[in-house]
Subunit: 109 residues, 2 copies
DNA sequence: AGCCTATACATAGATAATCTATATATCACG
DNA sequence: CGTGATATATAGATTATCTATGTATAGGCT
């Protein structure tokens, strides 16, 4: 990481998959959603976002389709696959386990 | 990271500093403390631990002293400095802010 | 005596995830 | 006609973690 990360490393894939649970979104929209839902605390840089989406495609956790946006711009829409939905479940439970473990250390040390 | 990290990346320094708030500890003891307090969920590998301690020394957040353990082995004891205590405060609040932001995304996406 | 496990520190090199910086292109607005 | 927002993408740097390895000693077991 260059200086202070805008994200907790290791959580980006989970956040992306989560934003796709309601409806397909394009990359730019995913980044906006994460920023807005987090009240501007989390920022997904392009250099993190697009490589992450490539990873997710390669793993088969999302699929992509070129479409036009409402404002008539070309964009690549990502849809969660069933494998992706399963993966999200795994990542969510691992994350919660980690956070719970960290909390125990922080409370008892 | 090689495969699945044993830690959430970016949280190790905070965890180490926290384990030193009660009393000085040596490296091996820090790793044990984190493991035990987290109910074996978090494991600090030596290859992560010792470089992290060097970083903390360089930053002036801990100081080190060679001593003998209770079982008569030589070990390097680390003590939190006042700058380290301040840094811990910063890292704790940043971490909590991150977790809160992630939770908002996970709940509202 | 010899062996193994746990304790204790340390470094080299691999891997991976993030960042910064750059590039392209189009739309809407002033 | 320029600027800002929308939209995608890649190259390269930085950094944090891991795996693997090496050293050394204490204590217990056979």
């Amino acid at each position: 990481m260059a200086n202070k990360p805008d994200l907790l490393p290791g959580t980006l894939d989970m956040l992306i998959l989560k934003t796709l649970t309601r409806a397909p979104l394009h990359g730019y929209g995913i980044a906006q959603a994460i920023k807005q839902l987090s009240d501007e605390v989390l920022t997904v840089e392009e250099g993190s976002l697009y490589p992450a989406l490539q990873r997710l495609l390669l793993q088969g956790w999302v699929k992509a389709e070129w479409k036009m946006t409402e404002t008539n711009r070309r964009a690549r829409y990502y849809t969660l696959t069933s494998a992706g939905r399963k993966q999200l479940g795994i990542e969510l439970s691992e994350f919660e386990q980690m956070i719970a473990a960290i909390s125990r250390v922080l409370q008892n040390a």
